[in-house]
Structures are given as structure tokens and as C-alpha cells.
Symmetry: C2
Subunit: 710 residues, 2 copies
């Protein structure tokens, strides 16, 4: 449940503006303009010792002079005065402060951040929450509570509506707002939280998604310091079927420093963010256009059943390009029923196309009714899940009004997603006037449709998989800077994996040459023999791996050789592993590590020598099921090979998926204290043959570490 | 040199309209409207036996009644009358006919096409060229010769300008036109050629690119039946530094039917089109937006020296997103000089960012001069090749006029490419008014910049590589349906490759067990032994490959075994190949085949079992140099591995490139008569170690075939 202070800041009964200005273009003046202009019904208390009236409001010299304690205060005074004002708010019991003042962490990452930290410490004890500092402010057009100095609400006329936009950045709280308004879409919430010293953008978002009028949530994020709050936003949104679209920028920041595990090296911030957002059903877009281009589609209340597309146009070229765009988007063209085609054939001229895409041809110019005549026929065919209507050229000689009306009737009749592509502004305007989503090109239209449908699919998957699996990346699960990971030797790593249900190759740790010979006899040759040392992660380079040994002499020789190599190098000698030689059809890798922010992350990917140079991997955030692993495997580049090509049988994806799921459980087990894990290679056989972990390197927290089950 | 008839059709002295109508919305009426409205200065002769005047023009009963033979005629009468009209034009010596009538190949692919073929045969003998049938017509706003019935020129006011748009499709001749006009860009040529029964869109384009006023050519193509004409367009365009952008749709059409060679299977139409367009320096886009979004940049006359970007914004978020977009586009952020940063530091507030991207911060609101003050400082720094200016929010309180003026001054001063991102329509309009290219988002701006710069780079490469290498896919080079390819056995295939300078593994074709033993001794063991038959392409499956044989007994045994296998299966037994066992670091594949349209196509890619399931390949159209192969190899997914990772030395890319270049020459050699070729595997060693072809399957034209050097 979100903090009641956050509900108050979205819908305050009373607002004080500390540092009120009569200049409407100053940060202490503009909120007053907005509060009066956009219908705020609560009390407004400007505070300024130098004046008794500000922009029409009675003005008070100080907070303590107000007739009541305001629920919320805007602090718009600079420097130390801002700190004093925040403290005074806390002393008086103001629920939340919107701290617009800058000069904190954003200009001085050390001293400024420290100032923020101390301020939060003082104030939270008294129950006051802070939005900011350096916040452009919050705007709720549902309540008229516009605690913001953004210029944008003067530039693009507000209208209450179903969209909420949240961002730390001021610009990115209002740019999507402005683009929505250009499209005629109403925006209720447009909040810029600034430095997030106390309330984070995710925490505020959790309060916003409780607003039942919100039907689409847009987030701009430059970092996700508190994934647990964002997970909570996603959880509430899933319950409400509320789509969340996130633009996480800084995608291309250098990854984490080289890590000891493959997962550490490959699970760079960007890939983990991808996995985190996907895990929670949040759709990630690459730019601002991605936030807004498909927005209208989400607001139609459609319930698409699938992704088979029907395209209709008066241009053959647009038909071809629609089919191209659909194919690139992975949307198959629907196969129309024979009756549908026959009926279309009776209506359309003989040279028109009655297969999908449906080319009405330029005959539309001479007979504007063709369009309206065929749509009801298509509406009856259940094959279509969604439609794109392309009208590249119309105008004089065409009954564009009829096209738009007929399309709107058709859309209402089918209740299925429908997008229009019309590059001419006047044609576009007519379709828009009928409430239809219109794009300039068919590719843009199909791409928006694909985003919308794919996002709903993602939400459904997240709903299924996350039903009773709360996100657990609480701080205790994160790798802590103070911890000192300890590498287990291969035998211990394999034993730990095995004890958690992972399929480990048959092997024995031998403490003498004699034990090696016994192991050979028990396992049966040929065997692999490997030197075992908790000090050595990469054995091959040192000559500590010998393969295909068959005789007692060979394994005895290997024992002696390896003992010598390890002891000569001054490393700990833990013995020699004798293992069965398993053959698999493909070498995969399974890895895991603890992300400092997102907690446990599990990787599965194509193995071999070049896992890092030619990455082909998927990341999963536990908890996840084997089914989710199977879905992830299906998205690998090598998926066709895993599925079986060239007449080969499919590989044992069930076993591999189970193994990855077991790694997920292992990473969730606080007693296991795993820091990172590389199972490499994992040999996968044909379906039914299982998979086998041949080598493992596991790092655990050291015994005296505080992480885990305390 | 383009046909003089095509020059005439673009700038005719006189035009007859056969089937003139006084209804301005009919195909026989609208050209008359356009000719009078858009300033055509030649003679206009409407032809219609039923009237003496049409839309203000004196009208004649028949072509033969005209006072002169018109240079060009529009035929706008239906059915057989159209055929008669075309014949009459030819009889009278009309240079070119724009045949708008439909009912030909587009509605009847068999009978209609045949009608077209016969018409062309009759007419060409008399020297008349046909544009069409089913042509929407041609529009040249430079001469006012609008021989078109498109609705679009009523909808979007024409303005002569530097852009030419050509398409078979009517819609796609005018949709880019309309989008250009929405952007305020003038369009001179907008031509829709229809069914291309005679003059193709590429042939007409070759005439259009001779127009010195054309600075940008846009092509929409659904097929490229005459690559030699498109190559000629590209050649003229290269000489003129004229960029050509092509949208080839139907990208996702099913590939060619399964072919006997890997190249045949992998060089699907779409990949070959990619290679062809790249070969000629034509930029391929995926949709209509790609044709127009960057168009303005091409018209600025910039001469970019590189692709290092500087981003400037008053929003930190826009700075981050610009850097993201640049990184995704492969545009590095320029490193500003220390002096630049110091000088910026003196101007900007302390919390602004003086590294690139440059965040002016919201301080711009209180000091609109900041923007104009820093630009001259940045202009002096040579590190930047191009700029993106992001103004996500401005308006009341900002001096937007000054920003736009200052930016225009800066752009003029540097002469370097500059794009603006401004989502607010009024801000956008101010920058546009200064002649600057403006986009809604920074990503769109950077993507357009990247397309523009990458296209110029492509043009430069094409200029270098194509300097004296004409395109040779003349019909005789194409695989002909009548030819009967004959498979060479492995020994003959290897010998042919070797005789053309390709590095073939040491081997001998042996005709007896004794010869096998001699070969073993000459080559030195271990050797590979392979059964040789011109009837067998896939040896492994039949047990016809044995590896690592060392002794006379082993090779003798192999001889007898393989002879038996081949003879028992009723195939031709050509002997046994004994070959050295070469080791390489990577198995590559080199292939080639003759595309039925584009002629010889050479493939190089990652080898192994899954070449088709996990394609990682590049196609090249000969002639090409080893340097071009090296560029292609650098774009493979496995390029890092070829270059050396994990401390490995680089592989011998020089040798591999030379081998691929040799295959290119072989495919160009008419005497070699190669239909297809698979060199698989080609083992590549470390730099200096060369590469070795271990197996080869070559198909040649049969001896009695007519293809080749006749």
C-alpha cells in the first residue's frame, strides 16, 4: 500500500507555496497560475514575507502563520532557506514537500547528495515525505493539483484523461505529455520527481497506479535504484490490467567491470534491465516515440485474441508494404475463408485481390462505395485478429468521409484492433475525427499494432508466471560490497549443484592414485581426469584436464602429473576428479550472479569458447518456472538448432529448462549463499537423454558474511 | 545514354491526349487540368471525336487530324481502343506513349501480359516507346509536363525542387511526393510507370538522373527485372554525387525454391537485392518513412568528414537519449578539446555539463543567451563532425527565436551536418523557418543523420570500388531455365578451383588401392579418404569419408569399402581421393551461384553444420576486390572471432579474402561456365597460415548449353 502522504501529494486538501512569486514565469509563481487556471479546489497558501497578496491569493509571511497546517508544501526558495523550509514543514506535520529548489546532488554529487541524505534523515523521523529536490513538480489534472513550474502546460493545453507520465527528468515528464496532447489524448498525471532523495519515481508511480482513471502508465527512467518499488508498481498494474511502458535510457552505458563469472560479464546493466522489465510485464521502448506512438491503441479497450492481420488498401503497393511490415513484426497475414473471398469477389472488380492483403485497386476512385461494401464481409470472417487500412491517396473524387465512417462502423462491429495508415493530413484528420488511430505509413501502423499486441501478450505471460511469486530483490539479496566471495573447488561446486537437484555428470573426487583407479573402474572408461583446487578456476590452460583415459596406468599418471602441477604452482591441492565422458549434442552454459541492484540473475545461453565474443543468451530473474525457461530458450539465436534441423531430433529442452529453473531456486535459497555460478559446459542431448553439467565454478559468500538468512 | 524518346517524355514539345475528357476527375481530363495549371508551355492536343473543345483546349477528332505529330501522347481510352491508339501513335512517329489504360498484365497475368508483349513488338519496330500500361503517368514540375491523372497534385500543392520520385505504383510515386511537400521540400519529378511493358522504371530513372537539377532520387521498386538499367542509374548518379534511396518492397516474399547449393538456398531474393543495391551505392530503406525522413539532409550540400557527434540540450534526459541513439547508430560522441571545455565552463553554470553531450540545464530558462554564447565555442572545436540540438521544452519565458537564429548561424559557420529535435510544433516551426532540419525526437534526428552519413560513406565506397568495373549481369550471365547444370565430382571440382588460383588442400585422385597407398606415402599421414562420384554430393551420410588414416592397410581398406558402397548403390565410381588432413581454426563456407535476375552472386560465411539454420553470411556481386571481401567479413557476426578474441591471434583474413575474390573472378569467367559452387569447408588458419579448401561441389553448364562465351 502506498504511503498516505503520496496520496495526499496527488490530491492535497491544501497547498502552501514557500517562496511564492508574483512573476508567473518563476518557479514560485507558475504553480499559482496553474492552481487557479486548472481548477484546483483546495486551499492555496502562498508564503512570502515581502507581500500580502500573490497573483490573487492572500499571502502569508511564514508557514507557521497559516490558519492550518497545509497537507502539502511546495518549497521554491534557494539554498539553505530551502533546507530550513523543509525542516519547518516537518516540524509542523506537513505530509509531503515538493522541493523544487536545486543545488543538491545534481550539481554536487558528493556534498549535495550528503545534504540530501541528512535532510531526509531529519524529516522522515517526523513523518514528512520529500519529492525532490530539483523537482519540476507534480501535475494532476484530475484534481487540478498542479504543483509544477513546467512551461509545457502553457504550451499544450491540458485535458484530463487516462494517461499518466512519470519521470525524474522534468523534460521527460512533459515531452510525452505534449506529444499525447498533440494526438488529442488526455493526460491526468505528469510528474517529475527530480533527485528522488526520498520518494522515488517508482514509489510515486505505485500511488499513481492506484488511481482507477489511469489506463496507461508511461515511465521515463535513467536508473532503477529501487527495483522493489517498480516491481510493486508492476504488480498493482497487472492486477488492474494496466499497461506500463518504460523508457529506460542510458542503455549504452559501459557494462559492469569485468567480473569473475560469465554471467557477471554478460549480464550488463542493460540486459538485466531488459530481463527485469520483461519479468514484470513492463514493455521497454527505445525512445520517446516508443512511449507515445502506440498509446492510443491501449486506450480502446480492445481484447485481441491473436496477431493475425488483415490489410486492406486501394493501393497494391500499400498491400505489399503492409505484408512486409507484418512479416517483420511477426504478425502472420490471416487466411480468409473461401466464403469471404467469394463474397469479396462478387463486390470487387475482377482485377482486385480477394486474398489478404486485399487490394481494392484504384477502382475505389470511380466507386467510393466499394470500401464500405467489403468491410461487413470481412467483419464476418473470424480469421482476422486485427486490421490495417491503408489509404495512401484520396481527396478530390473520393468520398473520404464515407471511408472514415465505414471504417469506424467496421471497427465498432468487430471490436478488434484496427489501425489506419493515411499520409495526407486531411485524410488523416477525417479518420481521426471518427476516433480511429491513424499513422502516416503502414509500417508505423503495423509496428504500433505489434507493440500493443505484443505488450498484452507480455502482460498475460507476466500475469501467469508472477501470480504468486513476489519480487524478492530486497536489499539483503543483493551482492554487498562488503562481502568476500569465496570460490569453491570443482568438486564442491559440483556437489552443491547436485545437492540442489542439478544433473551433474557422474564423477568422484579422488584423494590418491588408487582412488582414481577405483573411480575409473566404477565409472567405466573412458573418463575425464581433472585437477581440483579451490585456487584454480581455469584448469585447461594449466594442463589439469585430460580426456579419454581408459587404463589404470593413464589415470595414475594423470594423478601424479596433476598433483605435481598444482603443488608446484603453490596452489591448494584438493585432489583429482575422475568423471564420466558424457557426450552431448550441444554445449550450453548456465550461469547466475547477484546483481548489486536487481538481485539474483540467471543466464542460459549457447556455450563453447566464444560465449562472451558471440553472446547468444537470455537472462531470467528468479523466481521463474521451467516453462519460462523454455520460452527464453525459444528466443535464442540457436533455437532452430535446439529444436532440431536437418532431420535431427529436438534436443532435451525440458531437461535443460528444469536445470535452469533449479539454478533459479538455488539462487533464491538464502542458505545456499551463492554469489555467482558458472555451469559450463552443460551438455544437452536429444529429447529424453537429459543434460549433464560437466564443470562448475561456484562462488559463495564467506562464512562470516552477513548476507543471507540472518 | 538514355533513349531520346525518354528525354522527350520528360520534356515534350507537344502532347496529345487520346481520350480527352471534360471531367477533371477522369483520367482523360485531369492531365489537361494539370497542364494548364502547372505552366506547361508546349502544345496540348486533346483528342476526342465527340467534342471540339475540352477544358479550354481546342479538341481534335483523331490523332491524324492534328496539325503536327505530337512528340508524346497520353492514351486514356479503354480496352482495344487503347491498343489501336498506341498503334496509330507508332504509325505516325510519336516518340513516346504514356499508356494509362488498364486491363493488361495487372488484371490478367497471362493473356494481359501477352497482349503487352505483342503491342511492344509492333510498336518498338517503329521507334515508339511505351510507358505503361496501367501507368498513373509522369509529372515533371520543372517543365510543367504533367502527364498524370494522380489526385495528389490537387491535394498537395506542387513546387519545383531537387527531388525525383519514381515508382511503378501510382501511390508510391505520389506518397513520397506528398510527404516531401508537407516538409516544404520541392519535388520536380514524380513518375509512375505502371506495368513497365516497355520502358521500365529504372530505364526512365536513367533519363531522370541526367536532369542536373535533381539532387536526390527516390525509388520505389516491387521487382527489379532489369538490374542492368538500375546499375546504369547508379553509375550516372555516382558520377554526379547524386544519392539514390530505394524502397524495395516484397522483402518477405518466400525465397527461391530449395536449391542444390548452399548459396542457392541462402542467397534469397531479398539478400541478393541488398547486395546489389549496396554494390551500386544505393541506400535501401525498409519503408516510406525511410524514403523521406532524412531527405532534407541530403539537400544541404554538406560534406561530412566523419561521424563523431556532439549533442547539446537544455535537458539532461535529452543528452542521455541522444548519446543512446548515437551509440545504437554507431556514431561515437566527439571528445571535445580541453580548451573547449574550459571555455564552456566559463559560460555555463557550474552544474551544467561541459563534456559531450553538453547539458546547458534548465538555466536556459533564466538566461536565453546561454545557447547563443556556447555555440561559437563549440564551432571552433574540430572534434565534431555533426551536431544534434535538442530543445524538448521551450515557449513562454524562452527566447525561441534567438535559439533558432543562433543555431542557424552556427550551422552556417561550421558547414557541418546539424539536426534539431523539438517536439513542440511551435518550437519546431521556428527552427524550420531558419532552414534547419527538425525532428520530433532526438532518436529520429540521430537516425536521420546516421542514414545520411552512412549513405555518403556507402556512395564513397561504391565510387572507389566500382570505378572501372561495369555491372555485368547481362542476360547471358543469368542462369537460364533451359540450361542443365552438371555436377562435377569432387576431384574435378577441386581441380577446377585450383586451376583458378584457389587454395585447395593437398590431395590425389586415386584409381586403385595401390595409388591410394602411394598417395598416403606422398602426402604423409594422417590422411582423409573420400569416395569420389559425380553422382554423389553428400558423402558423409553414405560412409564415403574416413578421417585420420595412417597406414597402407587403412587406406587400402577404405578404397575397397568405398568402391563397394558406390558401385552397390549403382552410382558412377570415379575413384577415391586421398587428401592431407588440414587443421584450421574456423570452418568457413564460400559459395556462388547465378541468380536468374542479378547474375553471379558470391557468398562467404561462417561454416559448419548449421550454415542454413544459423546463417551468418555476406553476399557480394562480382566483380569485387579482396578489400571489399575484407569489409564484408568485418560485418559477419563472427567478425570478433575472426579478428582474434581471448588472446588468440587474428585469423588469415587476407587469404580468405583473396580466395573469395578468386571465386568472384571465376564466376565472371565465361569459359568456366560455373552454375554454382560450394567450397565447404574452407579452413582458415591464423594470419600467415592461409586457408584451405577441403571439399568442393561445382555445377557447370552442360557442354551443349548455349550460355557463356558464344
Amino acid at each position: 500500500m502506498p504511503d498516505s502522504s503520496l496520496k495526499a501529494v496527488l490530491d492535497p486538501k491544501s497547498i502552501a507555496i514557500i517562496g511564492a512569486s508574483d512573476n508567473p514565469n518563476k518557479i514560485g509563481g507558475r504553480p499559482l497560475v496553474y492552481l487557479s487556471r486548472f481548477g484546483y479546489r483546495g486551499k492555496v497558501y502562498p508564503i512570502n514575507p515581502k507581500r500580502t497578496e500573490t497573483l490573487g491569493y492572500k499571502t502569508y509571511p511564514a508557514l507557521r502563520d497559516l490558519p492550518e497546517t497545509p497537507e502539502v508544501a511546495i518549497v521554491a526558495v534557494p539554498g539553505d532557506a530551502a533546507l530550513a523550509a523543509v525542516d519547518e514543514c516537518a516540524d509542523l506535520g506537513v505530509k509531503a514537500v515538493v522541493l523544487m529548489s536545486s543545488g543538491f546532488g545534481e550539481s554536487d554529487p558528493v556534498g549535495g547528495k550528503e545534504k540530501e541524505r541528512r535532510m531526509v534523515e531529519r524529516v522522515r523521523a517526523k513523518g514528512t515525505r520529500i519529492i525532490g529536490p530539483n523537482s519540476q513538480g507534480l501535475a494532476n489534472f484530475g484534481t487540478g493539483a498542479i504543483l509544477s513550474f513546467s512551461t509545457m502546460y502553457l504550451e499544450a493545453e491540458p485535458a484530463d484523461g487516462p494517461v499518466a507520465v512519470l519521470s525524474q527528468s522534468g523534460a521527460m515528464a512533459v515531452v510525452p505529455y505534449g506529444l499525447m496532447r498533440q494526438r488529442g489524448i488526455g493526460v491526468r498525471h505528469s510528474h517529475a520527481t527530480g533527485n528522488d532523495c526520498d520518494v522515488t519515481v517508482s514509489e510515486l508511480a505505485a500511488a499513481v497506479v492506484e488511481d482507477p482513471e489511469v489506463k496507461l502508465l508511461l515511465l521515463y527512467l535513467e536508473s532503477i535504484p529501487d527495483p522493489e518499488n517498480l516491481a510493486e508498481v508492476a504488480r498493482i498494474a497487472r492486477e488492474r490490467d494496466l499497461p506500463v511502458i518504460a523508457l529506460k535510457s542510458g542503455r549504452t552505458a559501459a557494462g559492469q567491470a569485468a567480473a569473475s563469472s560469465h554471467t557477471g560479464a554478460l549480464a550488463n546493466e542493460d540486459r538485466v534491465v531488459d530481463a527485469f522489465l520483461e519479468h514484470h510485464g513492463i514493455w521497454r521502448v527505445r525512445d520517446t516515440a516508443g512511449l507515445v506512438d502506440a498509446a492510443e491503441l491501449y486506450l480502446k479497450g480492445w481484447r485481441p485474441k491473436g496477431r493475425r492481420l488483415v490489410a486492406i488498401s486501394n493501393s497494391g503497393a500499400v498491400c505489399v508494404m503492409s505484408a512486409d511490415a507484418a512479416s517483420m513484426a511477426g504478425m502472420p497475414m490471416a487466411k480468409l475463408a473461401d466464403e469471404t473471398r467469394a463474397e469479396l469477389g462478387r463486390i470487387l472488380p475482377s482485377f482486385a485481390t480477394t486474398t489478404n492483403p486485399i487490394d481494392i485497386t484504384a477502382a475505389l476512385l470511380t466507386n467510393s462505395r466499394l470500401f464500405g461494401d467489403i468491410l461487413p464481409v470481412i467483419a464476418k470472417d473470424p480469421a482476422a485478429d486485427a486490421f490495417v487500412i491503408g489509404v495512401p491517396v484520396a481527396g478530390v473524387g473520393y468520398d473520404v468521409d464515407a471511408f472514415a465512417r465505414d471504417t469506424a462502423t467496421f471497427a465498432a462491429l468487430t471490436g478488434k484492433p484496427l489501425v489506419v495508415a493515411a499520409p495526407q493530413p486531411n485524410v488523416m484528420a477525417r479518420f481521426k475525427a471518427e476516433g480511429l488511430p491513424v499513422f502516416t505509413t503502414e509500417t508505423q501502423a503495423v509496428d504500433a499494432l505489434n507493440q500493443y499486441i505484443s505488450h498484452l501478450e507480455l502482460m498475460n505471460r507476466a500475469k501467469t508466471h508472477r501470480a504468486d511469486a513476489p519480487f524478492v530483490a530486497k536489499p539483503r539479496d543483493r551482492a554487498s560490497a562488503s562481502s568476500t566471495p569465496v570460490m569453491l573447488n570443482e568438486a564442491d561446486s559440483l556437489a552443491l549443484a547436485q545437492s540442489h537437484g542439478l544433473p551433474v555428470v557422474a564423477h568422484r573426487l579422488c584423494r590418491s592414485a588408487e582412488e582414481c583407479v577405483e573411480a575409473l573402474q566404477a565409472i567405466g572408461g573412458p573418463v575425464a581426469v581433472k585437477g581440483c583446487s579451490a585456487d584454480i578456476a581455469h584448469k585447461s590452460e594449466l594442463g589439469l584436464v585430460r580426456l579419454g583415459l581408459n587404463t589404470p596406468e593413464e589415470v595414475t599418471d594423470a594423478w601424479h602429473g596433476m598433483e605435481r602441477i598444482i603443488r608446484d604452482s603453490g596452489k591448494r591441492f584438493d585432489g583429482v576428479i575422475v568423471a564420466a565422458m558424457r557426450k552431448g549434442r550441444r554445449e550450453m552454459i548456465i550461469g547466475a550472479h547477484r546483481d548489486p541492484v536487481f538481485g539474483p540473475v540467471v543466464m542460459v545461453g549457447d556455450g563453447g569458447k566464444y560465449v562472451e565474443a558471440l553472446p547468444d543468451l537470455r537472462l531470467l530473474l528468479p523466481p521463474f518456472s521451467a516453462d519460462e525457461v523454455a520460452e527464453a530458450l525459444a528466443r535464442l539465436r540457436i533455437a532452430p538448432v535446439l529444436g532440431g534441423v536437418r532431420g535431427e531430433p529436438p534436443m532435451d529442452l525440458a531437461a535443460l529448462s528444469e536445470a535452469v529453473a533449479a539454478v533459479g531456486r538455488l539462487m533464491m535459497d538464502p542458505a545456499a549463499k551463492i554469489v555467482s555460478l558458472d555451469l559450463n559446459p552443460v551438455l544437452v542431448g536429444s529429447a529424453g537423454e537429459g543434460c549433464a553439467i560437466v564443470d562448475a565454478v561456484i562462488f559463495r559468500e564467506s562464512a562470516n558474511d552477513t548476507m543471507g538468512n540472518k
